[in-house]
């Protein structure tokens, strides 16, 4: 599944949900289940997530991404 789900964390960062390939749920079903209740989220392509994680803790969830 080449999709990811992103949502803002309480600390001001961004969380990225990585689906399990064998779980049998759609990306929408995973979002409904695993995104904390009340959090805005967005489904994006895996390629849109930076692979360079040196500054991972500085990533933020931009308002325009909502």
């Amino acid at each position: 599944m080449n999709k990811r789900i992103i949502y803002p964390t309480d600390e001001g960062g961004v969380a990225v949900i990585i689906p399990a390939p064998e779980c049998g749920l759609t990306i929408e079903e995973i979002a409904a289940k695993d995104v904390p209740q009340g959090k805005p989220y967005k489904i994006v392509d895996a390629a849109d997530i930076p692979s360079d994680r040196i500054f991972r803790n500085a990533w933020t969830y931009m308002e325009e991404d909502q």
Binding site: I5, T9, G13, A15, V16, I17, I18, P19, A20, P21, E22, C23, G24, L25, I30, K33, D34, A46, I49, S51, R53, R56, N57
Partner: protein, 249 residues
């Protein structure tokens, strides 16, 4: 008035059919008939319900029990039952040619458990596994005796570096990448409670000690568990390329 037959032939010469059996009572469409050579069949209400074929195989609900089955039962939404009128125990034995019970399935009514027995060739069966009345599965796989087995309820193997990805998993819908070396494992089916145990490991990425632990000041929950990969004397979080997490309850 009863009929008395002398000699060794008995009643002969009539094969009958399911609708008109050769041997009948007062009900003319119920009785015994002979549909083929060396074959005996039983009919009820004009339909065949049981047959013993020319090989001695018995078919209930089928006229073709097949050569591999001494007893074949066929029907729609049907079953077989073994009743113990004393409600003590019932069993099914698997015997060798010499009569040794080498395999066995046994149900104990008093204590509500079912056991399964096996043995080496020619030896008498010994209990190897048991499902108790509470549904606990117990077996002897090198334990020395039959004991309850506690299962891995969820597991995941993932790469926490670069483009984070799950390699394989069981009972896991996703992992959440919360930051450097900080991951949440989300379960497909929730745990019965949060009192499970967590088993983790990771690959070595440097000379400093490294481990995966429960995130500080967080408690496991029934739906997920948050872990962190840490290393060195400062216990800084660090991404790991191989993370292994399993949940046992």
């Amino acid at each position: 008035m009863p009929i008395t037959i002398s000699g060794s032939t008995g009643i002969a010469g009539v094969d009958g059919s399911a609708s008109t059996p050769a041997v009948q009572g007062t009900d003319t469409n119920t009785g015994i008939f002979f549909p083929a050579a060396d074959t005996i069949a039983f009919g009820e209400g004009g339909s065949e319900v049981m047959r013993i074929d020319s090989s001695g195989n018995v078919g209930v609900g089928t006229s073709s029990p097949g050569s591999a089955y001494r007893l074949a039962v066929s029907g729609n939404n049907t079953g077989m039952s073994i009743q113990d009128t004393g409600s003590v125990g019932t069993w099914l034995d698997f015997k060798t040619g010499s009569g040794t019970v080498q395999g066995n399935i046994y149900f104990n009514f008093t204590n509500g458990y079912m056991t399964f027995g096996t043995a080496a060739a020619g030896s008498s069966q010994v209990e190897r596994a048991r499902i108790d009345s509470s549904g606990n599965f117990q077996f002897n796989s090198g334990y020395g005796s039959v004991a309850t087995a506690y299962g891995c309820r969820a597991w995941v193997n993932f790469n926490g570096t670069g483009t984070v990805a799950i390699r394989a998993s069981g009972n896991v819908t996703s992992i959440t990448d919360n930051g450097t070396g900080d991951y949440t494992v989300n379960f497909t089916n929730a745990m019965p409670d949060a009192n499970y145990t967590l088993s983790t490991a990771s690959n070595e990425t440097g000379s400093a000690p490294q481990f995966i632990c429960l995130k500080q000041s967080t408690a496991p929950s029934t739906g997920s568990v948050r872990v962190q990969a840490r290393y060195g004397t400062s216990w800084s979080t660090q991404d790991v390329s191989y993370a292994f997490v399993s949940i046992i309850r």
